[in-house]
Every structure is written in structure tokens, then in C-alpha cells.
Amino acid sequence: MKPFQVALPSTIDQASKLQLKDASPFMAAGTDLLVRIKDYVTVPDMIIDLKRIDGINGITSDDRGVWLGALTRMHDVAVSEKIQQGYPALAETIRNAATPQIRNMATIGGNICQQPRCWYLRHEGYSCAKNGGSGCWARDGENEFHAIFGNKVCAVVQPSNAAPVLVAYGAVIEVQGSDGKREIPAGEFFVTPEQDPRKDVDLTSGELVTRILLPAENRTTRWGYSEAREKQSFDWALASVTVLLDRGGRAGEHRVVLGAVSPVPLRRKDLEKILAGGAVDGDRISSLKKKVGEGATPLSGNGYKVQMLQGLIGKAVRQASGQKEG
């Protein structure tokens, strides 16, 4: 890898100014960035290591809900009682992510800002719409792990397992730069290629994720999360479905969010409407299965994801409504 310098700012303001000066990348744990540097996909002269910044690490709670500091390790999120009790779908997805070692290192802030895992994007030899060129190699190339929804401009999938679950819980992403703080709903934090193919998330230069709020009013004990992948350890989802029923105890307020099938976590209001229509029975699950692939535009190698979603949504909905596997 190419040698680089390491800046260790101790405040958000310092970090922000450093990035505004020369666009050096921020690093939390580095489990994504360092790999890209080793692969010559990202070749920075300097990285801005955020680990010395106070106040953005750890889990706290107040009237609004539970706050995850951006530097909180994935393992600490997964084993947190506050998360296990209040937001069990998040604990469940993180508990199974990556490997024990990575979960001990990687941070929740870095997890939602990691670069998509498209093998063309992460190869020094390819230029595409996402890294400054044009077009999408995956659309006519090798695309079995790519998007089946919203894949016209760029077919990456959002790689974070936690992201769709955060969207389902209505999480709020707190970001801060030299101009102050912003709060962005998780559903708007992830940027579609149509909005801006160069961006994965809604951060401007000098801005970093500081905390993530899981709102108290969106807790629910009726949750389901199902995911398929090729191997149990060190792998990303091929597809995932998060289902929350009666969020915050409000009857009929459901959330269905699909993961790993589009460039951003995909909330499906049409499926939520079906769920709101009445009791979760066999007929309703059949209609969900029929509908879940609607609007999909699979590429040459990833049509299987439609069938996969049909299985996963049945599983997640049954789990959320307390039914046995059927």
C-alpha cells in the first residue's frame, strides 16, 4: 500500500477542518478504509483518524430514546441491554454481522458509511458512475450480488446489515461539520444513485456522523428479521427483510424494509399497506409474497433475489406476528 500520514484530531471541529482542507478520508475503526487502501482503491496521502474524539463513543439514553455514539463498536451495540430490549431487530442483525474480531473493531458509524462492496467499484482498474467515470460495469457484467431495484444508474447494494433495520426503527442520524449539527432521518441518509451516484450517504465535505438516535416512540416487541447469505461468517446479506408491526404500540403502524437488494435500504409502503389490512394469515402472506418482487428489474445473474425475498418476507412476517415457521 502507499504510505500515508495519520492525523489524530481530538475535536469534531479539528477533524472537520482537516477534511475541508484536502479531502482526506475519515477513519473510524478502519475495517473498510484500510482494506480499500491496501487494494489501491483509495489512495490517500493522509487519513483522519476519529478515535481520539471525545463524546461520540458509547450508548446513552434520554427522553428521545437511545443514542449510539458513532464510535461505539458493533459488539457493544449487539450486547447492549438497551438495544436488546428496546430494538431487538438491531441487536439481532449486528450479532450475526461479519466476524467476532470485526465486531470487536468496527463501529456503528463506520458501518453505515462503509463503501458498497461492488467488485467493479472496489477494483482499481474500473471506472464507473460511482467513482467519477460513467456507466455501470455490473449491469452487463458479473452481477449476482447486485441490486434488483433502482439499479439503472448504478447497481450497488447498500452493504450495511444495520442500515435497513435503522430505517425501520425510524432512526435519526446526527451529523456534524464546521457549520454545526444536522439531524437526518435514516430513510433519507442513504443517497440513491439517481440523486447522486458519487455519494453513498448524505454527508458533505467536513461532516461526520456523531450519533444515531433510536427513537423511544418506535419501540415494538413485534419484530421480524430474516436474511439469506452464502455463508454464516464473514459475509454480506444476499437479501434481508426487516418487519416491525405496530411500532410504538400504535395499531397498524408497520414497517417493511428490504436490505441488500437496492443501492439504499428499501422501505416498501405497498407491503406495509397489505399488512395493515388485517390479521397476518396465510392469504395475507401470499399477497406479500406476490407483491414483494413488484418493480424489480433483475440483471442477468441476480433474478434469484426475487424468489429469495418471497421466502424471507414470509419468514420475517411470521416471526413478527409470533407464528411458528411454516
Binding site: M1, K2, P3, F4, Q5, V6, A29, G30, T31, L34, V35, K38, D39, D45, D49, K51, H75, A98, T99, P100, Q101, I102, N104, M105, Q232, S233, F234
Partner: protein
Amino acid sequence: MSQEQTTRTLQVNGEVHHVAFPVHHSLLEVLREELGLTGTKHGCELGECGTCTVLIDGKPLLSCLELAAECEDRKIETVEGMMRGNELHPLQACFADLGAAQCGYCTPGILMAAQSLLEENDTPSRDEIVSALAGNLCRCTGYHKILEAVEWAAAQLRGDESYRLPESAFYGDPVPGEKVSDA
């Protein structure tokens, strides 16, 4: 661009080292190149294989993705620090006795991950061992003997004299150690 050197105080296996190294070097590189501790292995370098696993403040982490410059004031443990005086750590002895290491390249990382597990949980179930070692790839053993070795070492560490390994856990002749004759 020139390689900017930095100096840090690293505490490795209970010893304090003042060490100078290029600031972009990983803990793995500094352990092996500056400190001569070559027990920790280079594997994929991308966080996928686990063979570079070391313990930092008791937790298994990947030394290939940890910058050494970040490791000051943290307690680093490597496979070289496992022995107790001249005695092998029970995990090391059980791995050797059961043939849980074949080519041996993944072994240091697996020993570290297993040590961390046994420090937290002295009676791990088979599933708990599998989960704890889920970040370590082994391409030789098929894992079975590794799991048996960790179970046996756990029994030794908690002083459980009633624990019996299945005869099938051993291969070849002679059978290693007195413990087998009881079995």
C-alpha cells in the same frame, strides 16, 4: 511520499517496548518486523481470515487492520505470550496432542480467539466455541479437532477431572499423555 516515522510505547505480552515505525504500518507489521514476534501471521490482510488475530485489552482483534500507532496504552497479547514459564498453555498442549494444527498457519490466531473465549466462559458449549471461532479460517483440519481441543483445554483450565475426550479424538500411535489411559 516519504514514510513518516512515529514512536510509540507498546505493551506486548507484559513487556514495554519503545518502538519506532512508519505511521501507516499495521500492528501486525510492527509486531513481526520491529518486535520480531513472528508468531502472528500475515494472511489475507483484508480482515477475512483471522490468522492475524491478537488480543487487545483481552478482546480478539485483527492486527492487520489495526494501526500500530493506535495501540499505545493498550494491553496487547500474542501467541508468544501464551506459555506459562516453560509450560505450554493448556490450549497449546491440547492443540498439539489432538492434531488440531496441521499446517499450523491459522493456529496462532485460533489460539488467541479461543483464549479470549475461555477467559470469559470456562464451560463453553460446542455452539459457543463455533461462534467464537467464526472469524478464523482453517483450510486443513476441517475444524473438528480444533473444537475438541478447545473443549478439552476448557476442562483442564476449570480443573474438571471428570471430563473425558472420546477415544476418537486421538489419532495415531502412541496416544499422547497419561490423560488418555484414563479415558
